[in-house]
Amino acid sequence: MPIMKLLTLTVKRRLRTVLGLVVVATAISAVTVALTAGESAKPPTKAVKKTVKKKKLTGSELYAINCNRCHPERYPTEWTPSQWKTVMLHMRVRANLPAKQAKEILKYLQEDAGN
Protein backbone atom coordinates (compact mmCIF):
# COMPACT_ATOMS: atom_id res chain seq x y z
CA MET A 1 0.00 0.00 0.00
CA PRO A 2 1.47 3.36 -0.96
CA ILE A 3 2.52 5.51 1.97
CA MET A 4 0.23 8.39 0.99
CA LYS A 5 -2.79 6.11 0.90
CA LEU A 6 -1.87 4.64 4.25
CA LEU A 7 -1.47 8.11 5.71
CA THR A 8 -4.83 9.17 4.28
CA LEU A 9 -6.51 6.12 5.80
CA THR A 10 -4.89 6.78 9.15
CA VAL A 11 -5.99 10.41 9.11
CA LYS A 12 -9.53 9.39 8.18
CA ARG A 13 -9.69 6.87 10.98
CA ARG A 14 -8.50 9.44 13.45
CA LEU A 15 -11.02 11.96 12.19
CA ARG A 16 -13.79 9.44 12.70
CA THR A 17 -12.55 8.60 16.14
CA VAL A 18 -12.40 12.30 17.00
CA LEU A 19 -15.90 12.77 15.62
CA GLY A 20 -17.17 9.87 17.65
CA LEU A 21 -15.47 11.18 20.75
CA VAL A 22 -17.02 14.61 20.18
CA VAL A 23 -20.51 13.09 20.05
CA VAL A 24 -19.93 10.98 23.13
CA ALA A 25 -18.28 13.90 24.98
CA THR A 26 -21.22 16.14 24.17
CA ALA A 27 -23.63 13.52 25.44
CA ILE A 28 -21.59 13.07 28.60
CA SER A 29 -21.57 16.83 29.11
CA ALA A 30 -25.33 16.83 28.89
CA VAL A 31 -25.46 14.02 31.42
CA THR A 32 -23.25 16.00 33.76
CA VAL A 33 -25.49 19.01 33.42
CA ALA A 34 -28.49 16.80 34.10
CA LEU A 35 -26.89 15.37 37.21
CA THR A 36 -26.23 18.83 38.58
CA ALA A 37 -29.55 20.19 37.39
CA GLY A 38 -31.28 18.73 40.41
CA GLU A 39 -29.31 21.05 42.65
CA SER A 40 -29.57 24.07 40.43
CA ALA A 41 -33.31 23.55 40.08
CA LYS A 42 -33.94 24.86 43.60
CA PRO A 43 -36.68 27.43 44.03
CA PRO A 44 -35.55 30.91 42.94
CA THR A 45 -34.94 33.62 45.49
CA LYS A 46 -37.55 36.22 46.23
CA ALA A 47 -35.67 38.82 44.21
CA VAL A 48 -35.76 36.63 41.15
CA LYS A 49 -39.42 35.87 41.75
CA LYS A 50 -40.18 39.57 41.75
CA THR A 51 -38.35 40.35 38.54
CA VAL A 52 -39.29 37.30 36.48
CA LYS A 53 -42.90 36.22 36.21
CA LYS A 54 -42.86 32.79 34.67
CA LYS A 55 -45.89 31.60 32.78
CA LYS A 56 -46.21 27.93 33.51
CA LEU A 57 -47.50 25.78 30.67
CA THR A 58 -50.59 23.78 31.57
CA GLY A 59 -50.88 20.02 31.21
CA SER A 60 -53.11 20.33 28.16
CA GLU A 61 -50.64 22.72 26.50
CA LEU A 62 -47.72 20.40 27.20
CA TYR A 63 -49.78 17.51 25.90
CA ALA A 64 -50.48 19.36 22.65
CA ILE A 65 -46.82 20.35 22.29
CA ASN A 66 -45.19 17.01 23.02
CA CYS A 67 -47.51 14.13 22.27
CA ASN A 68 -49.04 14.86 18.88
CA ARG A 69 -45.70 15.37 17.16
CA CYS A 70 -44.97 11.63 17.20
CA HIS A 71 -48.35 9.93 17.18
CA PRO A 72 -52.05 10.67 16.70
CA GLU A 73 -53.86 12.01 19.72
CA ARG A 74 -54.80 9.55 22.45
CA TYR A 75 -57.93 10.52 24.37
CA PRO A 76 -57.89 10.75 28.18
CA THR A 77 -60.86 8.41 28.40
CA GLU A 78 -58.93 5.57 26.75
CA TRP A 79 -57.28 4.49 30.00
CA THR A 80 -57.90 4.66 33.72
CA PRO A 81 -55.90 7.03 35.95
CA SER A 82 -53.68 4.18 37.10
CA GLN A 83 -53.07 3.00 33.54
CA TRP A 84 -52.20 6.53 32.47
CA LYS A 85 -49.60 6.62 35.20
CA THR A 86 -47.88 3.59 33.70
CA VAL A 87 -48.19 4.83 30.13
CA MET A 88 -46.79 8.23 31.07
CA LEU A 89 -43.76 6.69 32.78
CA HIS A 90 -43.16 4.75 29.55
CA MET A 91 -43.52 7.91 27.46
CA ARG A 92 -41.36 9.94 29.81
CA VAL A 93 -38.49 7.57 29.01
CA ARG A 94 -39.28 7.07 25.34
CA ALA A 95 -39.87 10.73 24.50
CA ASN A 96 -37.26 12.15 26.88
CA LEU A 97 -39.73 14.25 28.83
CA PRO A 98 -38.60 16.16 31.92
CA ALA A 99 -40.36 14.77 34.99
CA LYS A 100 -42.26 17.95 35.81
CA GLN A 101 -43.70 18.19 32.32
CA ALA A 102 -44.62 14.52 32.39
CA LYS A 103 -46.44 15.03 35.69
CA GLU A 104 -48.42 17.98 34.34
CA ILE A 105 -49.46 15.98 31.30
CA LEU A 106 -50.39 13.05 33.54
CA LYS A 107 -52.54 15.28 35.69
CA TYR A 108 -54.35 16.55 32.60
CA LEU A 109 -54.98 13.01 31.31
CA GLN A 110 -56.12 11.69 34.68
CA GLU A 111 -58.68 14.46 35.13
CA ASP A 112 -60.86 13.03 32.36
CA ALA A 113 -59.63 9.45 32.49
CA GLY A 114 -61.95 6.54 31.87
CA ASN A 115 -63.19 4.11 34.49
Binding site: K12, G20, T86
Partner: protein
Protein backbone atom coordinates in the same frame (compact mmCIF):
# COMPACT_ATOMS: atom_id res chain seq x y z
CA UNK B 1 -124.61 13.72 58.17
CA UNK B 2 -125.49 16.93 56.38
CA UNK B 3 -128.07 15.19 54.21
CA UNK B 4 -129.77 13.56 57.18
CA UNK B 5 -129.89 16.83 59.01
CA UNK B 6 -131.48 18.46 56.01
CA UNK B 7 -134.10 15.77 55.92
CA UNK B 8 -135.01 16.03 59.57
CA UNK B 9 -134.97 19.75 59.29
CA UNK B 10 -137.41 19.64 56.43
CA UNK B 11 -139.74 17.27 58.31
CA UNK B 12 -139.57 19.41 61.41
CA UNK B 13 -140.27 22.52 59.37
CA UNK B 14 -143.26 20.87 57.76
CA UNK B 15 -144.66 19.81 61.12
CA UNK B 16 -144.07 23.23 62.48
CA UNK B 17 -145.82 24.76 59.52
CA UNK B 18 -148.74 22.35 59.96
CA UNK B 19 -149.09 23.00 63.71
CA UNK B 20 -148.65 26.69 63.41
CA UNK B 21 -151.15 27.19 60.63
CA UNK B 22 -154.60 28.26 61.82
CA UNK B 23 -157.62 26.06 61.12
CA UNK B 24 -159.01 28.20 58.37
CA UNK B 25 -155.75 27.90 56.59
CA UNK B 26 -155.75 24.07 56.97
CA UNK B 27 -159.20 23.98 55.59
CA UNK B 28 -158.01 26.03 52.70
CA UNK B 29 -155.32 23.39 51.53
CA UNK B 30 -156.52 21.93 48.31
CA UNK B 31 -156.06 18.32 47.23
CA UNK B 32 -153.54 19.35 44.63
CA UNK B 33 -151.41 21.03 47.19
CA UNK B 34 -151.68 18.06 49.46
CA UNK B 35 -150.76 15.67 46.70
CA UNK B 36 -147.81 17.74 45.63
CA UNK B 37 -146.70 17.95 49.22
CA UNK B 38 -147.11 14.21 49.57
CA UNK B 39 -145.07 13.64 46.45
CA UNK B 40 -142.39 15.91 47.77
CA UNK B 41 -142.29 13.96 51.01
CA UNK B 42 -141.98 10.71 49.10
CA UNK B 43 -139.11 12.11 47.04
CA UNK B 44 -137.40 13.21 50.19
CA UNK B 45 -137.87 9.71 51.58
CA UNK B 46 -136.20 8.22 48.50
CA UNK B 47 -133.31 10.59 48.86
CA UNK B 48 -132.97 9.62 52.50
CA UNK B 49 -132.78 5.95 51.51
CA UNK B 50 -130.10 6.66 48.89
CA UNK B 51 -128.14 8.70 51.37
CA UNK B 52 -128.33 5.90 53.88
CA UNK B 53 -126.97 3.47 51.27
CA UNK B 54 -124.13 5.82 50.48
CA UNK B 55 -123.48 6.20 54.13
CA UNK B 56 -123.25 2.44 54.56
CA UNK B 57 -120.78 2.22 51.68
CA UNK B 58 -118.72 4.98 53.26
CA UNK B 59 -118.69 3.12 56.50
CA UNK B 60 -117.51 -0.06 54.78
CA UNK B 61 -114.68 1.72 53.00
CA UNK B 62 -113.77 3.43 56.22
CA UNK B 63 -113.51 0.06 57.93
CA UNK B 64 -111.32 -1.24 55.11
CA UNK B 65 -109.07 1.79 55.41
CA UNK B 66 -108.79 1.20 59.12
CA UNK B 67 -107.73 -2.39 58.47
CA UNK B 68 -105.07 -1.28 55.96
CA UNK B 69 -103.76 1.28 58.41
CA UNK B 70 -103.45 -1.41 61.02
CA UNK B 71 -101.56 -3.68 58.61
CA UNK B 72 -99.18 -0.87 57.64
CA UNK B 73 -98.64 -0.10 61.26
CA UNK B 74 -97.69 -3.70 61.87
CA UNK B 75 -95.26 -3.70 58.93
CA UNK B 76 -93.72 -0.48 60.15
CA UNK B 77 -93.24 -2.01 63.56
CA UNK B 78 -91.53 -5.02 62.00
CA UNK B 79 -89.24 -2.79 59.88
CA UNK B 80 -88.27 -0.76 62.90
CA UNK B 81 -87.48 -3.96 64.71
CA UNK B 82 -85.22 -5.14 61.87
CA UNK B 83 -83.44 -1.78 61.76
CA UNK B 84 -82.94 -1.85 65.48
CA UNK B 85 -81.47 -5.32 65.26
CA UNK B 86 -79.14 -4.24 62.42
CA UNK B 87 -77.87 -1.29 64.42
CA UNK B 88 -77.28 -3.50 67.40
CA UNK B 89 -75.36 -6.00 65.25
CA UNK B 90 -73.25 -3.24 63.65
CA UNK B 91 -72.38 -1.84 67.04
CA UNK B 92 -71.45 -5.28 68.23
CA UNK B 93 -69.33 -5.91 65.13
CA UNK B 94 -67.50 -2.61 65.51
CA UNK B 95 -66.61 -3.45 69.08
CA UNK B 96 -65.37 -6.94 68.19
CA UNK B 97 -61.71 -7.32 67.05
CA UNK B 98 -61.25 -7.91 63.24
CA UNK B 99 -60.56 -11.47 62.14
CA UNK B 100 -57.68 -10.27 59.91
CA UNK B 101 -55.72 -7.04 60.00
CA UNK B 102 -56.71 -4.68 57.16
CA UNK B 103 -53.58 -3.48 55.34
CA UNK B 104 -53.10 0.24 55.57
CA UNK B 105 -51.15 2.67 53.37
CA UNK B 106 -51.57 4.06 49.86
CA UNK B 107 -53.45 2.37 47.05
CA UNK B 108 -51.68 -0.21 44.89
CA UNK B 109 -48.56 1.17 43.25
CA UNK B 110 -47.95 -1.70 40.87
CA UNK B 111 -49.61 -1.71 37.51
CA UNK B 112 -49.45 -3.91 34.46
CA UNK B 113 -50.35 -2.46 31.10
CA UNK B 114 -50.46 -3.78 27.56
CA UNK B 115 -49.94 -1.42 24.61
CA UNK B 116 -48.54 -1.94 21.13
CA UNK B 117 -49.71 -2.28 17.56
CA UNK B 118 -50.78 -4.75 14.92
CA UNK B 119 -50.57 -4.59 11.14
CA UNK B 120 -51.55 -6.51 8.06
CA UNK B 121 -50.12 -5.74 4.65
CA UNK B 122 -51.22 -6.22 1.08
CA UNK B 123 -48.72 -5.69 -1.71
CA UNK B 124 -48.03 -6.00 -5.37
CA UNK B 125 -44.49 -5.93 -6.68
CA UNK B 126 -43.94 -5.10 -10.31
CA UNK B 127 -43.95 -8.29 -12.38
CA UNK B 128 -45.37 -10.41 -9.57
CA UNK B 129 -48.80 -11.40 -8.37
CA UNK B 130 -50.42 -9.41 -5.62
CA UNK B 131 -50.91 -10.93 -2.19
CA UNK B 132 -51.46 -10.30 1.44
CA UNK B 133 -47.85 -10.14 2.34
CA UNK B 134 -47.60 -9.93 6.08
CA UNK B 135 -49.39 -9.98 9.42
CA UNK B 136 -47.69 -8.46 12.41
CA UNK B 137 -48.51 -8.30 16.09
CA UNK B 138 -46.21 -6.18 18.24
CA UNK B 139 -47.32 -6.02 21.88
CA UNK B 140 -45.47 -3.96 24.46
CA UNK B 141 -45.73 -5.11 28.05
CA UNK B 142 -45.35 -2.41 30.68
CA UNK B 143 -44.95 -3.16 34.35
CA UNK B 144 -44.69 -0.19 36.68
CA UNK B 145 -43.12 -1.22 39.96
CA UNK B 146 -43.45 2.24 41.48
CA UNK B 147 -43.34 5.88 40.41
CA UNK B 148 -39.73 5.60 39.24
CA UNK B 149 -39.23 2.04 38.04
CA UNK B 150 -40.67 0.59 34.86
CA UNK B 151 -40.02 -2.68 33.07
CA UNK B 152 -40.97 -2.67 29.41
CA UNK B 153 -40.65 -5.35 26.77
CA UNK B 154 -41.65 -5.14 23.12
CA UNK B 155 -42.20 -8.25 21.02
CA UNK B 156 -42.74 -8.63 17.30
CA UNK B 157 -44.60 -11.63 15.90
CA UNK B 158 -44.57 -11.60 12.10
CA UNK B 159 -46.09 -14.02 9.65
CA UNK B 160 -45.03 -13.41 6.07
CA UNK B 161 -44.87 -15.18 2.74
CA UNK B 162 -42.11 -17.73 2.61
CA UNK B 163 -39.89 -19.09 -0.12
CA UNK B 164 -41.07 -22.23 -1.81
CA UNK B 165 -39.18 -25.48 -2.12
CA UNK B 166 -38.34 -24.88 -5.77
CA UNK B 167 -36.88 -21.94 -7.57
CA UNK B 168 -40.01 -21.02 -9.51
CA UNK B 169 -42.59 -21.17 -6.78
CA UNK B 170 -43.21 -19.21 -3.68
CA UNK B 171 -45.33 -20.93 -1.13
CA UNK B 172 -45.64 -21.44 2.54
CA UNK B 173 -45.14 -18.94 5.29
CA UNK B 174 -42.28 -17.65 7.32
CA UNK B 175 -42.82 -17.01 11.00
CA UNK B 176 -40.62 -14.59 12.84
CA UNK B 177 -40.47 -13.76 16.52
CA UNK B 178 -38.31 -10.92 17.82
CA UNK B 179 -37.68 -9.37 21.17
CA UNK B 180 -37.59 -5.81 19.91
CA UNK B 181 -36.55 -4.44 23.27
CA UNK B 182 -36.66 -5.35 26.94
CA UNK B 183 -35.38 -2.85 29.48
CA UNK B 184 -35.60 -1.83 33.07
CA UNK B 185 -35.97 1.94 33.36
CA UNK B 186 -35.11 3.73 36.57
CA UNK B 187 -35.73 7.46 36.90
CA UNK B 188 -32.71 8.71 38.80
CA UNK B 189 -34.03 12.26 39.08
CA UNK B 190 -36.26 14.67 37.18
CA UNK B 191 -33.77 14.92 34.35
CA UNK B 192 -32.17 11.52 34.00
CA UNK B 193 -33.28 7.93 33.57
CA UNK B 194 -31.06 4.86 33.60
CA UNK B 195 -31.99 2.18 31.09
CA UNK B 196 -30.53 -1.31 30.97
CA UNK B 197 -31.24 -4.35 28.84
CA UNK B 198 -32.02 -4.83 25.18
CA UNK B 199 -32.37 -1.19 24.16
CA UNK B 200 -33.70 0.59 21.12
CA UNK B 201 -30.67 2.57 20.03
CA UNK B 202 -31.14 6.34 19.76
CA UNK B 203 -29.35 6.59 16.42
CA UNK B 204 -31.60 9.23 14.94
CA UNK B 205 -35.21 9.12 16.09
CA UNK B 206 -36.74 6.68 13.62
CA UNK B 207 -36.22 3.49 15.60
CA UNK B 208 -38.04 4.83 18.62
CA UNK B 209 -40.92 6.24 16.54
CA UNK B 210 -41.38 3.60 13.87
CA UNK B 211 -44.29 1.49 15.12
CA UNK B 212 -46.64 0.58 12.29
CA UNK B 213 -49.27 3.14 13.23
CA UNK B 214 -46.68 5.93 13.65
CA UNK B 215 -44.47 5.94 10.58
CA UNK B 216 -47.14 6.72 7.92
CA UNK B 217 -45.54 4.33 5.42
CA UNK B 218 -45.78 0.52 5.29
CA UNK B 219 -41.99 0.11 5.08
CA UNK B 220 -38.84 1.66 6.48
CA UNK B 221 -36.61 4.21 4.76
CA UNK B 222 -33.85 2.45 2.85
CA UNK B 223 -30.84 3.85 4.74
CA UNK B 224 -32.20 2.64 8.08
CA UNK B 225 -30.85 -0.73 6.99
CA UNK B 226 -27.37 0.64 7.52
CA UNK B 227 -27.91 0.98 11.27
CA UNK B 228 -28.57 -1.46 14.09
CA UNK B 229 -31.98 -0.90 15.66
CA UNK B 230 -31.23 -2.31 19.09
CA UNK B 231 -28.39 -3.49 21.26
CA UNK B 232 -27.79 -4.98 24.66
CA UNK B 233 -26.23 -2.58 27.10
CA UNK B 234 -26.95 0.31 29.41
CA UNK B 235 -27.96 3.89 28.79
CA UNK B 236 -28.46 7.20 30.54
CA UNK B 237 -31.01 9.49 28.94
CA UNK B 238 -33.25 12.39 29.71
CA UNK B 239 -33.98 16.03 29.06
CA UNK B 240 -33.14 19.41 30.47
CA UNK B 241 -35.90 22.01 30.09
CA UNK B 242 -34.83 25.35 28.67
CA UNK B 243 -37.03 28.37 29.28
CA UNK B 244 -40.75 28.16 29.89
CA UNK B 245 -42.16 27.40 26.47
CA UNK B 246 -41.50 23.67 26.48
CA UNK B 247 -38.09 23.98 24.87
CA UNK B 248 -35.63 21.31 25.97
CA UNK B 249 -32.27 19.76 25.41
CA UNK B 250 -32.43 15.98 25.18
CA UNK B 251 -29.57 13.56 25.51
CA UNK B 252 -28.70 9.88 25.57
CA UNK B 253 -25.38 8.17 26.13
CA UNK B 254 -24.97 4.43 26.06
CA UNK B 255 -22.67 1.43 25.84
CA UNK B 256 -23.76 -1.64 23.90
CA UNK B 257 -22.28 -4.74 22.36
CA UNK B 258 -22.63 -3.19 18.94
CA UNK B 259 -22.26 -4.82 15.54
CA UNK B 260 -20.19 -7.97 15.24
CA UNK B 261 -18.69 -10.35 12.76
CA UNK B 262 -20.63 -13.41 11.67
CA UNK B 263 -17.55 -15.59 11.35
CA UNK B 264 -14.88 -13.70 13.23
CA UNK B 265 -13.24 -12.35 10.10
CA UNK B 266 -13.15 -8.74 9.10
CA UNK B 267 -14.49 -9.27 5.62
CA UNK B 268 -17.11 -6.79 4.53
CA UNK B 269 -19.73 -9.44 3.83
CA UNK B 270 -19.55 -10.69 7.44
CA UNK B 271 -20.70 -7.53 9.18
CA UNK B 272 -23.62 -8.36 11.46
CA UNK B 273 -25.48 -5.20 12.41
CA UNK B 274 -27.66 -7.23 14.73
CA UNK B 275 -24.60 -7.88 16.83
CA UNK B 276 -24.89 -10.52 19.48
CA UNK B 277 -25.79 -10.73 23.11
CA UNK B 278 -22.29 -11.29 24.32
CA UNK B 279 -22.30 -15.04 24.70
CA UNK B 280 -20.93 -17.41 22.09
CA UNK B 281 -22.15 -20.95 22.01
CA UNK B 282 -20.38 -22.34 18.99
CA UNK B 283 -16.72 -22.20 19.94
CA UNK B 284 -14.57 -25.11 18.97
CA UNK B 285 -12.10 -26.47 21.45
CA UNK B 286 -10.22 -29.61 20.42
CA UNK B 287 -12.76 -30.36 17.75
CA UNK B 288 -15.65 -30.21 20.21
CA UNK B 289 -18.30 -27.57 20.21
CA UNK B 290 -18.56 -25.90 23.58
CA UNK B 291 -21.27 -23.72 24.98
CA UNK B 292 -19.48 -22.15 27.89
CA UNK B 293 -17.59 -19.38 26.16
CA UNK B 294 -18.62 -16.03 27.57
CA UNK B 295 -16.42 -14.06 25.20
CA UNK B 296 -17.63 -11.76 22.51
CA UNK B 297 -16.88 -11.63 18.82
CA UNK B 298 -15.08 -8.43 19.53
CA UNK B 299 -13.29 -7.50 22.66
CA UNK B 300 -14.77 -4.08 23.30
CA UNK B 301 -18.32 -2.82 23.40
CA UNK B 302 -19.46 0.15 21.34
CA UNK B 303 -20.27 3.55 22.73
CA UNK B 304 -22.76 6.03 21.40
CA UNK B 305 -25.13 8.83 22.14
CA UNK B 306 -27.48 11.48 20.87
CA UNK B 307 -27.94 15.16 21.56
CA UNK B 308 -31.22 16.77 20.55
CA UNK B 309 -32.76 20.19 20.70
CA UNK B 310 -36.52 20.62 20.71
CA UNK B 311 -37.94 24.08 20.16
CA UNK B 312 -41.71 24.56 20.17
CA UNK B 313 -42.98 27.93 19.02
CA UNK B 314 -46.42 26.90 20.20
CA UNK B 315 -48.51 23.74 20.04
CA UNK B 316 -48.10 22.01 16.65
CA UNK B 317 -45.40 24.45 15.58
CA UNK B 318 -42.01 23.05 16.50
CA UNK B 319 -38.55 22.09 15.33
CA UNK B 320 -36.40 19.23 16.55
CA UNK B 321 -32.77 18.74 15.57
CA UNK B 322 -30.47 15.97 16.64
CA UNK B 323 -27.05 14.49 16.09
CA UNK B 324 -26.15 10.99 17.17
CA UNK B 325 -23.41 8.47 16.64
CA UNK B 326 -21.87 5.20 17.67
CA UNK B 327 -18.40 3.79 17.36
CA UNK B 328 -16.63 0.60 18.37
CA UNK B 329 -14.91 -2.54 17.17
CA UNK B 330 -16.87 -5.11 15.25
CA UNK B 331 -14.31 -7.95 15.23
CA UNK B 332 -11.15 -9.00 17.00
CA UNK B 333 -8.94 -7.65 14.23
CA UNK B 334 -9.33 -4.14 15.49
CA UNK B 335 -11.71 -3.10 12.73
CA UNK B 336 -14.10 -0.35 13.71
CA UNK B 337 -17.70 0.31 12.83
CA UNK B 338 -18.88 3.90 13.27
CA UNK B 339 -22.03 5.80 12.44
CA UNK B 340 -23.10 9.41 12.42
CA UNK B 341 -26.73 10.44 12.07
CA UNK B 342 -28.32 13.86 11.72
CA UNK B 343 -32.06 14.04 12.24
CA UNK B 344 -34.59 16.82 11.88
CA UNK B 345 -38.33 17.14 12.35
CA UNK B 346 -40.53 20.15 11.63
CA UNK B 347 -44.23 20.81 12.31
CA UNK B 348 -45.82 23.89 10.81
CA UNK B 349 -49.41 23.38 11.93
CA UNK B 350 -51.51 20.47 13.15
CA UNK B 351 -51.58 19.39 9.51
CA UNK B 352 -48.06 19.67 8.09
CA UNK B 353 -45.06 17.60 9.10
CA UNK B 354 -41.61 17.28 7.48
CA UNK B 355 -38.79 15.12 8.81
CA UNK B 356 -35.73 13.24 7.72
CA UNK B 357 -32.33 11.81 8.55
CA UNK B 358 -28.86 11.77 7.06
CA UNK B 359 -26.85 8.63 7.86
CA UNK B 360 -23.17 7.99 7.29
CA UNK B 361 -21.28 4.91 8.43
CA UNK B 362 -17.64 3.85 8.31
CA UNK B 363 -16.73 0.18 8.20
CA UNK B 364 -13.13 -0.95 8.44
CA UNK B 365 -12.81 -4.21 6.53
CA UNK B 366 -10.01 -6.63 5.81
CA UNK B 367 -10.87 -7.14 2.15
CA UNK B 368 -12.12 -3.70 1.03
CA UNK B 369 -10.42 -1.33 3.43
CA UNK B 370 -12.67 1.37 4.87
CA UNK B 371 -16.03 1.59 3.16
CA UNK B 372 -18.73 4.19 3.71
CA UNK B 373 -22.30 2.95 3.37
CA UNK B 374 -24.50 6.03 3.60
CA UNK B 375 -27.88 7.45 2.71
CA UNK B 376 -30.59 9.86 3.63
CA UNK B 377 -34.32 10.15 3.61
CA UNK B 378 -36.96 12.80 3.98
CA UNK B 379 -40.73 12.59 4.17
CA UNK B 380 -43.64 14.97 4.41
CA UNK B 381 -47.29 14.63 5.29
CA UNK B 382 -50.25 16.98 4.99
CA UNK B 383 -53.65 16.35 6.58
CA UNK B 384 -56.42 17.48 4.29
CA UNK B 385 -58.55 18.55 7.25
CA UNK B 386 -56.38 21.67 7.12
CA UNK B 387 -58.24 22.73 3.97
CA UNK B 388 -61.51 23.02 5.93
CA UNK B 389 -63.49 21.21 3.28
CA UNK B 390 -66.97 20.11 4.30
CA UNK B 391 -66.29 16.52 3.24
CA UNK B 392 -65.91 13.96 6.03
CA UNK B 393 -64.06 11.37 3.92
CA UNK B 394 -61.53 13.92 2.74
CA UNK B 395 -60.96 15.26 6.23
CA UNK B 396 -59.72 11.84 7.35
CA UNK B 397 -57.00 11.70 4.71
CA UNK B 398 -53.35 12.63 5.05
CA UNK B 399 -51.27 12.80 1.88
CA UNK B 400 -47.69 11.63 2.28
CA UNK B 401 -44.56 11.61 0.19
CA UNK B 402 -41.04 10.32 0.75
CA UNK B 403 -37.67 10.34 -0.94
CA UNK B 404 -34.93 8.05 0.26
CA UNK B 405 -31.64 6.89 -1.15
CA UNK B 406 -28.85 4.64 0.00
CA UNK B 407 -25.41 3.68 -1.15
CA UNK B 408 -25.03 0.28 0.43
CA UNK B 409 -21.40 -0.37 -0.41
CA UNK B 410 -21.47 -3.61 1.57
CA UNK B 411 -23.77 -5.26 -0.94
CA UNK B 412 -22.74 -3.35 -4.02
CA UNK B 413 -26.05 -1.61 -4.56
CA UNK B 414 -27.20 1.95 -4.82
CA UNK B 415 -30.87 2.75 -4.69
CA UNK B 416 -33.09 5.75 -4.73
CA UNK B 417 -36.82 5.62 -4.22
CA UNK B 418 -39.77 7.96 -4.65
CA UNK B 419 -42.90 7.20 -2.67
CA UNK B 420 -46.33 8.80 -2.86
CA UNK B 421 -49.25 7.70 -0.77
CA UNK B 422 -51.94 8.42 1.76
CA UNK B 423 -53.04 7.63 5.25
CA UNK B 424 -56.76 7.25 5.97
CA UNK B 425 -57.65 7.61 9.63
CA UNK B 426 -60.69 5.50 10.57
CA UNK B 427 -60.08 6.48 14.18
CA UNK B 428 -57.15 8.04 15.98
CA UNK B 429 -55.36 4.67 16.15
CA UNK B 430 -56.87 2.64 13.31
CA UNK B 431 -55.54 3.71 9.94
CA UNK B 432 -54.97 2.51 6.41
CA UNK B 433 -51.70 3.37 4.73
CA UNK B 434 -51.32 3.03 0.99
CA UNK B 435 -48.49 4.04 -1.29
CA UNK B 436 -46.78 3.48 -4.59
CA UNK B 437 -43.00 3.27 -4.67
CA UNK B 438 -40.73 3.90 -7.62
CA UNK B 439 -37.39 2.25 -7.00
CA UNK B 440 -34.32 2.88 -9.14
CA UNK B 441 -31.35 0.58 -8.59
CA UNK B 442 -27.82 0.78 -9.79
CA UNK B 443 -24.71 -1.14 -8.83
CA UNK B 444 -23.43 -4.67 -9.24
CA UNK B 445 -26.15 -6.31 -7.16
CA UNK B 446 -29.00 -4.02 -8.15
CA UNK B 447 -31.07 -6.78 -9.75
CA UNK B 448 -31.55 -8.46 -6.38
CA UNK B 449 -33.65 -5.61 -5.14
CA UNK B 450 -37.28 -5.52 -6.34
CA UNK B 451 -38.48 -2.63 -8.45
CA UNK B 452 -41.69 -0.61 -8.24
CA UNK B 453 -44.34 -1.78 -5.84
CA UNK B 454 -47.69 -0.90 -4.39
CA UNK B 455 -48.33 -1.44 -0.71
CA UNK B 456 -51.32 -1.17 1.59
CA UNK B 457 -51.13 -1.61 5.31
CA UNK B 458 -53.88 -1.62 7.91
CA UNK B 459 -52.42 -0.52 11.22
CA UNK B 460 -53.89 -0.45 14.66
CA UNK B 461 -52.26 1.05 17.72
CA UNK B 462 -53.49 0.01 21.13
Amino acid sequence: MKKRSLFFGAVAASCAVGVSLPAPVRAAVSDDDFNSLKQMVQQLGDKVQKLEQVHQQDQQSHQQDQQKIQQLQQQLDQTQQVATNAVQKAEAASQAPPAQAVPSGPAARHNFQLVGDAETEFGRIQGQKSAFAMADFAPIFLYRANDDILFEAGFDFTLSNGSGPTANTSSGTAYNFDLSFATVDYALNDYMTAVAGNMLLPLGTYTERSAGWLNKFPDNPLPRGLLPSNGIGAQLRGAIPVGNNGQMLTYAVYGANGPSSMDGTGNSSQLDLGGNVGILNNSLYGGMTTFDNLGNLHSNPSGGGRIGWFYPLKAHYDLELGVSGQTGEWNDLGNNWSALVFDASLHLSPYLEVKGEYINTWVDTTDLGTIRPNGWWTQAGYKLSGLNLDLPMINNVELVGRYDRTDDVLFGAKAQRYTAGFVYYFTNTLLLEGDYEWLHNTGSNAAQIPNNEMLFQLSYGF
